[in-house]
Symmetry: C2
Subunit: 428 residues, 2 copies
Amino acid sequence: MKTRFYNARILSMAGDCSVISGEVVVEDEKIVYAGPSREEDGEAADRSVDCKGNLLMPGFKNAHTHSAMTFLRSHADDLPLQQWLTQQVFPYEAKLTPEDIYDLTRLAVLEYVSGGITSIMEMYLTPESVAAACRDTGMRCVQVGGVNNFSQSTALLERWFHELNGADPLTSFRLGFHAEYTCTPELIGEIAALAQKYHAPVYTHCSETQSETQECIGRYGMTPTAYLASRGIFAYGGAGYHMVYTTADDRRIMKENGIAAVTCPGSNTKLASGIAPLTEYVAEGIPTAIGTDGPASNNCLDMFREMFLATGLQKLRLSDASAFPAAEVLRMAVSTGAQVMGLEDCTCLAAGKLADIIMIDLHQPNMQPLHAIPENIVYSGSKSDILMTMIHGKILFDRLDGREHYSVGEDPEEIYARCRRICERIFA
Amino acid sequence: MKTRFYNARILSMAGDCSVISGEVVVEDEKIVYAGPSREEDGEAADRSVDCKGNLLMPGFKNAHTHSAMTFLRSHADDLPLQQWLTQQVFPYEAKLTPEDIYDLTRLAVLEYVSGGITSIMEMYLTPESVAAACRDTGMRCVQVGGVNNFSQSTALLERWFHELNGADPLTSFRLGFHAEYTCTPELIGEIAALAQKYHAPVYTHCSETQSETQECIGRYGMTPTAYLASRGIFAYGGAGYHMVYTTADDRRIMKENGIAAVTCPGSNTKLASGIAPLTEYVAEGIPTAIGTDGPASNNCLDMFREMFLATGLQKLRLSDASAFPAAEVLRMAVSTGAQVMGLEDCTCLAAGKLADIIMIDLHQPNMQPLHAIPENIVYSGSKSDILMTMIHGKILFDRLDGREHYSVGEDPEEIYARCRRICERIFA
């Protein structure tokens, strides 16, 4: 199957954020051409899509989420963080079955694809049913373990590391644990041993809140980043999710150990956690990606909101309107996101890369005029501008004929109905 | 013409933010019924719309904007504020004709109606052509004067006050001036005299930035709010746009003089101006509304973004996830917004009120599940959820049949084309 997208503008993200006119040709799951128009492709393609001057670009990479927490969206907002977690999150999560998580993840996938998100880095309770949900909908998903003192284990982590890698081209699994503050030193040591055994990077929540960071200093005399690095967790790199409270010394450790930062500005805002020092990360050469975090804490899974916040909060923090320009944000949301997730084949639109492509409607009023398309995307873009989301060569969402179509193996209303029944049972 | 919207959820905003099931009946420009379903209306209506369980609510009130600045969207982002204003805004604004402003305002109206905004409070250079643009598209618009040392005058202000009030049910005009820092004390005195003459409220930019506030203190030994109040500007109330840097004493003056605050969190974020003390305003009983500001400084005209920022930035500022709950934000964006704009007939869905109604798609994935609809709107809502925007009883935008339709007197592509030509001329 060969599809030619012609009459397009292309933001390939292969180098800078420049936009050219041309076409993209997709064969099966791969891009075979992205560049200026070539006459010959019109004849050879099985399907031709007139892009009508709209923009093709790589899909957004959501580098941190807990998809199945859709069931908690707007269940209990505007509460202090600890009260929310202990009274409104943990007791209800305890009632979830793997089948629930399968359905609730599918609900999140509808939101991802309608918002132009083509891959997610996921941490949740039952990796097997999450992998099944992503495989069955067509979502690209890099899972990480969420081991802690109360759920999962290093034995399970190692089993998943074997079983959930290589089983499906859309899904993979990486070593990970919940956080320093939910793991004993012994458990941290076991996970570090696995990293050593497999020469594998490790992913975890880190320095999300000030109190978490200070409590770690109280326990070990070190920040979470310094402590985890000292235990060998990051011997082969990895990433910290949130990374709101890091010191200059933490950033030196991150740089030396190849630890990326994944920022979640929407969640950090709604939960009043703080503003991460993204400007410093980028200036110091630390790979930095963006995640939505889960829908219980954000509450939406919308990379347009995250992109505006990523730059806007830096401008506010530094009292500098020129801080963190749009091109930097786009790189985080696309190419660096892919790199942090280990998806080197998804960084840009170029021959040989995987066909994770979105089309952005430049005929929407919020995209007019077209002085600077990358700035339009970051500063005035909205998920309402998404015309098409293709993952691994398959169109999962589009409104190319004016109406919304989902191709995720099931009608959205059926997914909504099952999730409603899950909520009725859990909150009964 | 009588239209019955049945099978709806209704967030009337008449009292609290509770949602009921029922129907809304519109006759010409007015709501004649909003409440539980009544059988008899099905027969009498000229048109019946099955809302399919989706939500009807009053449209969003955008209480501060400069619509025609669409021509500057993404023209020059990520610059320091003063450099941006003096090098990238003022020189190009000087080239605008009233006809340009007519077309550029129409471009903004497309964005307003596609995002569920049913009225705007507008300040720009040529009020006559702005009024014409709103009248011709069907947009409800309360204009305010933008008098300053360099453009407009108190004579023009008084003329517009007569000519642009009562001429059309959709448009009105209020006394206003640009800001303390662009007006001589003599000009401020003349405007105050007009307020006194007509017993009229006055609207102006006020305490948007720290430097503006400090310079005013340097000039007059008073904050902008205290200085303007001392000159009699607010003898009959009014509002300050932005109000980022106010003291406890300023807030006492606001409360005593009936001065509302209009916050523009998107603009204040992008321009690094700061975070307004909304929590204090609401706690102290100061009417507080939300505006997008103009598309040159935001860059989009999206009240969903503003609502999330309004609460989110308070949570960050106060390090308190429970600060500024969703219901408070909705009140600002709807009922209080209407009151601040003098649109008492547009505060809620109730018999006798004007039919400024939007329909929100609850079948979008970001709106599922339906634990708490007001929270869904504020925390996970998006302009992609807007199914219909009705102003003064006329549907200006909808996708009730799945496709987008604009009814603003002209095809969007024609408006885009004219705005493109304007940009080509101005930036040539």
